[in-house]
């Protein structure tokens, strides 16, 4: 049964071409908006079936799109667009990119049947399924799995985007994932504050942010790039920059026609989008790439970790609130990092205490110290606590840099201390 959410408003609008620019001869990555193959999408409870509008986005990638057109006279040997971006000042041929709400039944068949261990009535969670390893489909445990043939063909083909991704990521010094597992603990807020903190700090680092939360992209709002668009150029996708500090931000939020459009995609489609973000975005030379993730331990996390596998990511920062409920879910994320061999740089405890603006009384709304205790339990560095700070909250809602606007507020002081601790850990001799 194909379904995506009954995308009845899957429109047929074509991408707007910026007037005055010629389209590059080089066939870059294009998101085509017309899909000849319609799919039946009907999940409404009405009895009449409706065929969805056949126009929907499907990516039409051509290979070799990441190499530069020849403008970049970089000293690096690889003649790619991932070189110093300051040379690309000539306006590249551009095309705005938008996506429409679309069907998403490009499922890769894998086991739908859950393996329940009949003796213990427990599920086989991760151990035993080698789908993310080179031996996918070939292990003894794969023999009865319906996904065996799909895994075997995928592992044989290898990852064709690997080289492109490595080229892009090679010129980014530190790639840091911000993860949690639990929703609403402040991953996106912490990602944006870390980005601002690193940019404003004494080192004045070059920072970019990648938002791989496909369903709930908060980063464009928090960083003030809501109305800005991604431009498709011959060097790749040019992400919009923040008004403060010109931080590059890539998010699916910047690709939506309207901010209220839901992105109702199944896992494989999200994976494809994330891989394109990593492969096709023109970041240029950066000191930091902060990657904001959604809650959970699922497709997005597996995809981003797999995409960065050969690019030496620095590690993950885990965000939690002090509450037991949050900590119990966050432990799963720690387990995921351990299973997939992602180093954990540290734990941040967010929403840690609220200072009443009238009487300065501190109330621990979500308990206290849960993050620190978790760090001790797993022997992970504790990077710091961030209190609930309404000044910072207001700045975030307005897409402004809280670090610049309120340099002495408790939240900002906490962020600055966390940034210092993080830099110490990253620059520690191995």
């Amino acid at each position: 049964m194909s379904c995506c959410g009954g995308s009845t408003s899957c429109g047929s609008s074509k991408p707007k071409v910026v007037t005055g620019s010629s389209i590059s001869n080089r066939k870059g990555i294009e998101l085509s908006f017309e899909d000849e193959a319609a799919s039946n999408v009907n999940i409404s409870t009405s009895t009449t079936t409706t065929k969805s509008n056949s126009s929907c986005c499907s990516s039409n990638s051509n290979s070799g799109s990441s190499s530069a057109g020849g403008c970049c006279k970089s000293s690096t040997s690889a003649p790619t667009s991932a070189s110093n971006d300051s040379c690309c000042k000539s306006s590249p041929s551009t095309k705005e990119i938008k996506i429409n709400e679309e069907e998403s039944n490009k499922t890769i068949i894998s086991s739908d049947a859950t393996e329940i261990n009949s003796e213990t009535n427990t599920v086989n969670t991760f151990k035993g399924c080698p789908s993310e390893t080179p031996s996918a489909g070939s292990e003894p445990v794969c023999s009865s799995c319906p996904g065996k043939t799909a895994c075997q063909s995928q592992s044989a083909a290898g990852n064709p985007d690997k080289r492109d991704i490595e080229i892009r990521m090679k010129v980014i010094k530190h790639k840091i994932l911000v993860m949690s597992g639990k929703g609403g603990v402040g991953k996106s807020t912490v990602s944006s504050l870390l980005a601002y903190g690193l940019s404003c700090g004494s080192g004045k680092q070059k920072v970019s942010v990648l938002d791989v939360d496909i369903c709930g992209p908060s980063i464009p709002k928090l960083m003030g790039v809501e109305s800005k668009q991604i431009i498709n150029s011959e060097y790749g996708w040019m992400p919009p920059k923040t008004p403060n500090h010109e931080i590059k931000v890539m998010s699916v939020g910047s690709l939506l026609n309207t901010p209220d459009s839901p992105v109702v995609w199944k896992g494989p489609r999200k994976e494809a989008m994330i891989r394109r973000f990593v492969k096709d975005t023109f970041w240029g030379k950066q000191d930091y790439l902060i990657i904001d993730t959604p809650p959970g331990t699922s497709d997005e996390h597996l995809s981003i970790i797999a995409s960065l596998k050969n690019c030496n990511p620095s590690g993950a920062i885990i965000v939690t609130t002090p509450q037991d409920l949050s900590v119990s879910i966050v432990k799963k994320e720690i387990k995921l990092c351990q299973e997939l061999h992602v180093p954990i740089l540290g734990i941040i405890e967010n929403l840690s205490g609220y200072v009443c603006p009238c009487c300065d009384e501190v109330t621990e709304i979500f308990k206290s110290d849960g993050g620190r205790k978790l760090a001790e339990q797993y022997n992970i560095p504790f990077l710091g606590k961030i209190p609930i700070d309404t000044n910072l909250g207001r700045c975030s809602e307005n897409g402004k840099c809280g670090v610049c606007e309120h340099p002495t507020t408790p939240g900002v002081l906490a962020i600055q201390s966390i940034v210092e601790n993080l830099e110490k850990i990253l620059n520690k001799p191995q």
């Binding site: 899909d35 193959a37 319609a38 039944n105 991760f126 043939t149 063909s153 709930g216």
Partner: protein, 318 residues
């Protein structure tokens, strides 16, 4: 033969019309695809599992989804308090289904950590908090609390299908379904599998912040697209009363008017606001019912008002 069991020899290519669609194997895009033979010859038709799910759901009078789009706004807290409140009447049979596969909070909030399910002749037995309150979650299927369920979409969908198909709920007046944040596999599958079993409606939970409302608007549009009636929107974590000076302040600022304004703009009912009370978080951590433990608090009063509105809406539509 279930359509899920079709085995492709290669992952579907870029322009695939959908391996389970009517034109699978027959469209222009299928020429040259190694799966073409399989797609064109595999039987298509209604999924027999959905028929089984319909049978199971015949004994469930009302099904209510608790959605948000945004994480951490209090969906699980709200679902659990609603279930506790409904089950306070001993004659009401209540079920709580947690389809958040990656981050199952319900076992902890309901005080059922460490419990396991049993498989009987009638199916999977849910775990009972009390005689008239049954709970099912992937949390009961884990060996250890910190075990992570690192599954991709299709596998999560399979488990959700089994929750609906194989769990022996028996006769229920209300089945509350707690969902994870987002608009993805879990949401699509619950809507798809309950397609013929009639969902009474969805309660959308949010916090007052703009950042939350962006995602919640998407969720409301998702519900409208897939045809789920919206019972209403609840604004959670709305206002904090300082225990020392008793003045109210807004921790999560409603910069653009909060959920009430958003509900007006999107033409959906607004059910009410629940204030922040640190005792709610403590009750969740301890696995106790906040309404029973603190019956006189302001938040309990607001919860009850919201629950009454939900029941009126659901019972009137019957």
């Amino acid at each position: 033969m279930s359509t899920d069991a079709k085995q492709l020899v290669q992952p579907p290519p870029e322009h695939c019309p959908g391996t389970e669609s009517e034109t699978a194997g027959k469209s222009a895009a299928c020429a040259g695809c190694p799966n073409q033979q399989i797609c064109s010859t595999a039987p298509k038709g209604p999924d027999p599992d959905i028929v089984e799910i319909e049978q199971r759901m015949k004994t469930v009078k009302h099904k209510i989804l608790v959605l948000s789009g945004k994480g951490g706004v209090g969906k699980s807290t709200f679902s659990s308090q609603l279930s506790f409140a409904l089950a306070m009447n001993q004659d009401t049979q209540v079920g709580l289904l947690d389809i958040d596969i990656c981050g199952p909070s319900i076992p902890k909030i309901m005080g059922l950590e460490g419990e396991q399910i049993h498989i009987s002749g009638q199916g999977w037995d849910p775990v009972y908090v009390q005689d008239n309150l049954a709970v099912m979650s992937v949390g009961f299927l884990l060996e250890k609390e910190e075990d992570a369920v690192i599954w991709r979409g299709p596998k999560k969908n399979g488990l959700i299908k089994q929750f609906l198909k194989d769990v022996f709920w028996s006769d229920l007046d209300y089945l509350i379904v707690d969902t994870p944040p987002g608009t993805s596999d879990e949401h699509l599958s619950i809507v798809q599998y309950l397609k013929t079993s009639h969902i009474d409606g969805a309660v959308i939970v949010t916090s007052p912040q703009d950042v939350a409302l962006i995602d919640v608007r998407k969720e409301i549009n998702f519900c409208k697209k897939v045809g789920i009636p919206i019972i209403g929107v609840v604004e959670n974590m709305s206002g904090f009363v300082c225990p020392k000076c008793t003045k109210e302040s807004q921790i999560f600022l409603p910069t653009s008017g909060g959920a009430e304004q958003m509900s007006k703009d999107m033409n959906v009912p607004f059910l009410g606001k629940i204030p922040i009370d640190p005792l709610i978080a403590r009750s969740c951590d301890e696995g106790k019912s906040y309404l029973i433990t603190f019956p006189e608090s302001e938040a309990t009063k607001q919860y009850k008002l919201v629950f009454d509105k939900i029941l009126n809406s659901v019972d009137t539509k019957q």
